[in-house]
């Protein structure tokens, strides 16, 4: 039997996936608002965000498990918005893996081909091939209950791979694994996607996974797409307060204040600001990252602060400082030590400081400039 005629591709041409203005509400809750994303062929796109932000719903709409209220899903050249999941040529890895408990690992992997009527011979080959790619060849006869969490996850992956679909969808596949295994599987996933070159949409709430795996990250909050771009860009040039606060560990430091007369004013902080087009006085939030900043002698920095606590973590020392009523985190080298309540000052490169509008959250064009 000709494998190609059955819809199985031995090599695969990566497909482009487009989401156009997707909207979805459950009752009165508007879960996905006007979502538009273009995923390039072979790209690894991560949908990142806190729980309830609509990322899983978005994924299920792509799969066809939910129907969008409006908008389109286009796969390659085909509008698949109103087509049943089984015709869409997508494969999905569920958070719970959704393995069939009464079938062996081999039978689980075999299932998608079996229901499409592929011949037994070809199925055996494909199953062995997929199992080899996830290093599960010798565990094929076990039942899911006899496998560990990581092994089950690999069976779920193999089941997705075996069909050579146009798109992989993954719903938080690593969240049920322990930390060490998660790190290992991240590398495995990245490599596998690179080798297969299949367009992948990956949902997670873990920004470390997003940073390490993605070609591009799409951050969502409460149904709205906040920013989409390569991990570096999302990290170094956040589009708004939410993205800035979501990425990075520890989270970005924020100081609430106002811009008046071209100066940023906050408790004990006064820094010159270059604002184009005559900015009016407004409430702003200034942000900078813990790893960009340094602790210096009082008066030698941008503003003063007092030490609240110092935590040596092994590879760095996290120092928490108090400025007015706010607290800031600074990453210092591993040998750094300092006493409680010591008066210090904070310094960071001005181009690593951001200014956000306090109400809309948008990053302002205004920026900090040097004192002189």
């Amino acid at each position: 039997m000709n494998v190609e005629a059955r819809g199985i591709d031995t090599g695969h041409r990566a497909q482009r996936l487009s989401l156009r203005s997707l909207n979805k509400s459950f009752g009165v809750v508007h879960v996905v608002k006007d979502l538009s994303i273009d995923v390039a062929p072979g790209e690894f796109l991560v949908l990142l965000g806190p729980s309830g932000c609509g990322k899983t719903t978005g994924l299920r709409i792509i799969a066809g498990l939910e129907t969008a209220d409006s908008g389109q899903v286009v796969l390659g050249d085909n509008d698949v918005t109103n087509i049943l999941p089984k015709y869409r040529d997508v494969a999905m890895v569920f958070q719970s893996y959704a393995l069939y408990p009464h079938k062996t690992a081999a039978e689980n992997i075999d299932f998608p081909l079996k229901v499409r009527g592929v011949s037994k011979q070809e199925r055996e080959l494909a199953v062995r091939d997929a199992a080899a790619q996830v290093h599960m060849e010798d565990l094929l006869d076990r039942y899911p209950r006899q496998l560990s969490g990581g092994q089950r996850q690999r069976v779920a992956l193999a089941r997705a791979i075996v069909r050579r679909p146009s798109v992989f969808l993954m719903d938080e596949p690593l969240s049920n694994l322990d930390a060490k295994l998660r790190g290992f599987m991240r590398a495995e996933l990245k490599r596998m996607q690179h080798q297969l070159g299949v367009t992948t949409v990956y949902v997670t709430h873990d920004q470390v996974e997003a940073m390490t795996l993605a070609h591009r990250v799409a951050i969502m909050d409460r149904g709205v797409l906040q920013q989409i771009g390569p991990p570096r860009e999302v990290y170094d040039r956040p589009a708004n307060l939410f993205v800035a606060g979501f990425m990075g560990s520890p989270p970005m430091n924020f100081l609430r204040g106002r811009i008046e007369d071209n100066r940023f004013e906050s408790h004990g902080v006064s820094l010159p600001v270059a604002a184009d087009k005559g900015t009016m006085a407004k409430d702003v939030v200034m942000g900078f990252r813990a790893e960009d900043a340094n602790i210096v002698k009082p008066g030698a920095g941008l503003f003063d602060a007092t030490v609240y606590a110092a935590e040596p973590t092994g590879d760095v020392t996290l120092v928490t400082l108090a400025v007015g009523e706010e607290s800031l985190s600074i990453k210092m080298p591993r040998d750094y030590d300092i006493d409680f309540d010591k008066a210090v000052a904070v310094h960071f490169p001005l181009d690593r400081g951001f200014l956000f509008d306090a109400h809309s959250g948008v990053r302002l064009a205004a920026r900090l400039v040097s004192v002189s």
């Binding site: 498990l65 049943l84 089984k86 569920f94 229901v115």
Partner: protein, 391 residues
Amino acid sequence: MTSGTGPTTTSQLGHVAPAGLNASVTTRARLNEWLDRQSRQIFIAPAVIMILIFSVFPTIASLVLAFSNIRLRAGSYQVQFVGLRNFRKQFFGTEQFHFLGTFTSISLLGWIVTIASAAGLIWWLYRYAKQGFAILGFIGRLITASVGFGLALLFSATLFSGNPFGTLGVTILYVLVGCTIQFLIGLGLAVLCAQPIKGRTFFRVVFFIPLMITPIGIGYSFRMLADTTKGPFSPVWQWIGLGDFGWANHAWTARLFIVIGDSWQWIPFIFVILLAALENVSRDQVEAGQVDGASGWQVFKEITWPQIAPVAATVMLIRIIEAFKLVDLPNIMTSGGPGIATESMTLHSFFAWRALNLGDSAAIAYLLLFVTVVLCVSFFNLIVLKRLRPT
């Protein structure tokens, strides 16, 4: 009054005097403590004693009665040991027509069924013996096979040879035919109700009601409904030309109506449990199957059914156990008639008791117990356990 010293406690019942307090410990507290130490026995004793008195002992006593001839003399019973006479009567003696049926000769179809079932059962035993023989398992299967063959022979000689069969056959008929129909329809309804429909609660409530209605009421209601002159379907009967047909006067129609009445009552039981089981199947797995490309039928066959099979097997076991006890419907709808055509074994035993043949009554009851236990245990071991294992 609990013990004098110590903090106040919540309930009188609940306080046990802490060890070491040697202040005036009242008898009440001492009693409480002794009771608590005996709680191991006290909790379980009532149930055990009740079962011993009203279940275990009567079962043993019934066996004694089955081996006896009992006469009522001057207000008390005179029991006379007669060995297997009561049983022999049912199988080979004067009651044979009543219990087993009337035998003339076995037709060709009868012979075919007999030989086919004998061959099948022997092959089944042989296969078991080859793959991992265990002495207890083999004896169990031997018993099952023998009883199975006995029943096959019974039906070959009666049903398939155009002869009437007795209460044993009637009971087996009710169980096998009734339970099969009830399972299929119950499963079908559950599958229908598990679809994305509106008003599932309405159907669930409505379908559940018949299960709880007193069988006596059901019996009379169906008699009313089936009446060819006064019942609601009489125009239909007239139109077909069966206007004066007495359904209760013909063996097979009488049996049919009893099966209908029984099914009306018991299908809800299977439906409710299977529907709950279907709703419990992990949604993720069904969705995974749908994304993988399975059609509705494939999802059911490969994913849903294997997961509800254990529940289905258990629920059918319960149903079969209860089906053997059927007595209300035949008694009310047809009084076991016409003749003995719808008389279940329980009813048979009741009639014997009413006619003061206590020995016969006990013997028939014991035969029912034997058949019930063999078939239910076989069903459990061969079907229920097999379903419960893979998951």
